[in-house]
């Protein structure tokens, strides 16, 4: 049975599972960013989820979905630098706003709307388009999957979003980069997936499971 709406408890669980997935794969993320960037993505993302969970713990149990995601957004926007820190913050901010608009928490509709707006904000600020080998390449298919899942329960929609994001991640492996640090490496990054895109997939996948290792998701077929 899948969950219709992500209420406050489920959103908090999602956030903590996201943190757990990031810790579990931090070394793999570091390794990826070392090959296509400067090796700090794992550390940056882990710092983000750590700050987010700290804020959640301070906010306490009664927080609703919108407040939970708002605390996560604030942590990323206000405490985490790097390229990915504020960009992830924009995604969480848009999701928080969509949850606030929906009254009952994160419905499939709110998830689709928030993700689409997060994507738009990230594209405005970072200037990347799909195919530039950035986290946009995972976020765009996730947004599309959520839009297509209107009418299905939130948990099923999020599982579809995760599938789309992982597919996007695998597609980045074939690209050379036009944005971000990987763009300085030319042909050398072909074959290696984009770490930021992996971070996006980890986020959606953590709605329903903790990801312990990246390998199964990165290999095609």
């Amino acid at each position: 049975m899948t969950t219709a709406v992500f209420d406050s408890t489920r959103t908090r669980d999602w956030t903590r599972r996201f943190a757990a997935s990031v810790y579990a794969t931090e070394a793999e993320l570091t390794e990826l960013d070392q090959r296509v960037g400067d090796g700090d993505f794992g550390t940056n993302l882990a710092a983000g989820v750590r700050a987010a969970v700290l804020r959640l713990d301070r906010t306490g149990a009664p927080a609703g979905s919108a407040e939970t995601l708002g605390a996560v957004a604030a942590a990323f926007l206000d405490e985490i630098g790097g390229t990915s820190g504020p960009l992830f913050g924009l995604l969480f901010q848009a999701l928080s706003r969509a949850a606030a608009d929906s009254d009952v928490g994160l419905t499939t509709g709110a998830l689709a709307e928030g993700t689409a707006e997060g994507l738009a904000a990230i594209r405005r600020v970072g200037g990347a388009v799909p195919g530039d080998k950035t986290l946009v390449d995972a976020l765009a298919p996730a947004a599309a999957a959520l839009r297509a899942a209107q009418g299905t329960p939130a948990a099923a929609a999020l599982a579809a979003a995760a599938d789309g994001a992982w597919r996007g991640v695998r597609d980045t492996a074939c690209l050379t980069a036009r944005r971000g640090r990987a763009s300085y490496l030319g042909e050398r990054v072909t074959g290696i997936p984009d770490p930021g895109a992996v971070g996006v997939a980890l986020f959606f996948a953590s709605a329903t499971e903790t990801v312990h290792t990246l390998a199964p998701h990165l290999s095609t077929g």
């Binding site: 570091t30 070392q34 960037g37 400067d38 090796g39 700090d40 550390t43 940056n44 710092a47 926007l77 206000d78 405490e79 985490i80 630098g81 790097g82 390229t83 990915s84 820190g85 504020p86 960009l87 600020v125 970072g126 200037g127 990347a128 530039d132 050379t176 036009r178 944005r179 971000g180 640090r181 763009s183 300085y184 490496l185 030319g186 042909e187 050398r188």
Partner: protein, 332 residues
């Protein structure tokens, strides 16, 4: 494997900053809550605060250049990661002068984004804020790279020149214009014969086959887009400086400022040898080498490599460059 000397937290930056603040307490102050460094004193004539920042791991950039005659504040991020916008916002508010604050930003997506958000917040708070973007790296000068050229070694020269100019009382618009012009007249190329060690693992970020050289590295330990065989340093310097001259095309009477910069583990014996080769090469090209620096100014942790920067100056720029400076890492 080579572990860094650290306190077991895996984080070099906060410990380094508090040690730095104590070591240079006569010149700088450290705000541990927001993680920025400010100058204790600035010239009374200065009307615009100068602020720079970026990922850590490039020391002495930027904190080492906070003091009189250069930066009023530096915002160090985590290792190789842009500072966050709150840090930049608060530091900017702390050092803004009557004519506002100028951000000197190296061209990286992360820095642009975080400095950008901070600038919005400053505008919101009624504080005038300008930006000079430094994008001197010739290796990333390509149609294929939408992000544009990286900001590297030239940053320190731009900071010095703007420091001298700001001390004359120049306003925000003037500084933005000067800085933009000067940054446009700089190009840098960097090479490495060994990667830096990654602090969390203690391993080298990449392994180079013996006798190979990464040609066109940045300052984040990233590989270059190509590897070539390591030549005698004279040939290498000619190739690099030749490319810089081709890009800059200085006039015969233009005074040049050169920076021979170690990226971390190169010995000063090598840097002076490299400077000797550069001097000889510029002589044969009949270019006027008016000023020069040799040393570790903008590093990439303990990367074994060096960069060459050339700036095409003019008499006014030379005056600003020559103006007095008193910071932890640069004084005259």
């Amino acid at each position: 494997m080579t572990r860094y000397f650290e306190s077991g937290t895996g984080e070099l930056v906060p410990d380094a900053l508090s040690g730095f603040a104590r070591a240079h307490a006569d010149l700088v102050e450290y705000d541990p809550a927001d993680g920025y460094i400010t100058a204790r004193r600035t010239a009374p004539t200065r009307t615009v605060g100068l602020l720079s920042g970026g990922g850590s791991g490039h020391e002495p950039l930027h904190a080492g250049y906070v003091g009189t005659g250069m930066l009023d504040a530096a915002c160090p991020g985590r290792l190789f990661a842009s500072p966050h916008n709150r840090q930049i916002f608060r530091a900017s508010r702390a050092v803004a002068g009557p004519n506002g604050v100028l951000h000197i930003v190296k061209n990286y997506t992360g820095d642009r984004i975080n400095f950008g958000i901070a600038a919005e917040r400053l505008a919101d708070a009624g504080i005038a804020c300008g930006r000079v973007l430094v994008d001197d790296d010739l290796a990333s000068d390509s149609e294929e790279i939408a992000a544009g050229r990286r900001g590297t070694g030239a940053t320190v020269l731009v900071e010095k020149v703007l420091g001298g100019a700001a001390d004359t009382g120049m306003g925000l618009d003037g500084l933005v214009e000067l800085g933009t012009t000067v940054a446009n007249r700089c190009r840098t190329l960097a090479v490495a014969s060994a990667a830096h060690h990654v602090p969390v693992t203690g391993e080298r970020a990449f392994e180079l086959p013996s006798g190979e050289l990464e040609y066109g590295v940045g300052i984040h330990g990233e590989r270059a887009d190509r590897t070539r065989s390591q030549k005698q340093v004279g040939v290498l310097v000619e190739d690099m400086a030749g490319a810089l001259l081709d890009a800059l095309r200085p006039g015969p009477d233009d005074p040049l400022i050169a920076l021979v910069n170690g990226l971390g583990s190169v010995t000063s014996l090598e840097l002076y040898g490299i400077f000797g080769e550069l001097g000889r090469f510029l002589d044969t090209r009949r270019v006027r080498l008016a000023r020069h620096l040799v040393g570790d100014y903008v590093t990439a942790l303990d990367m074994r490599g060096f960069s060459l920067t050339l700036m095409v100056a003019d008499p006014t720029v030379l005056d600003f460059y020559d103006a007095p400076v008193r910071t932890p890492a640069w004084r005259w």
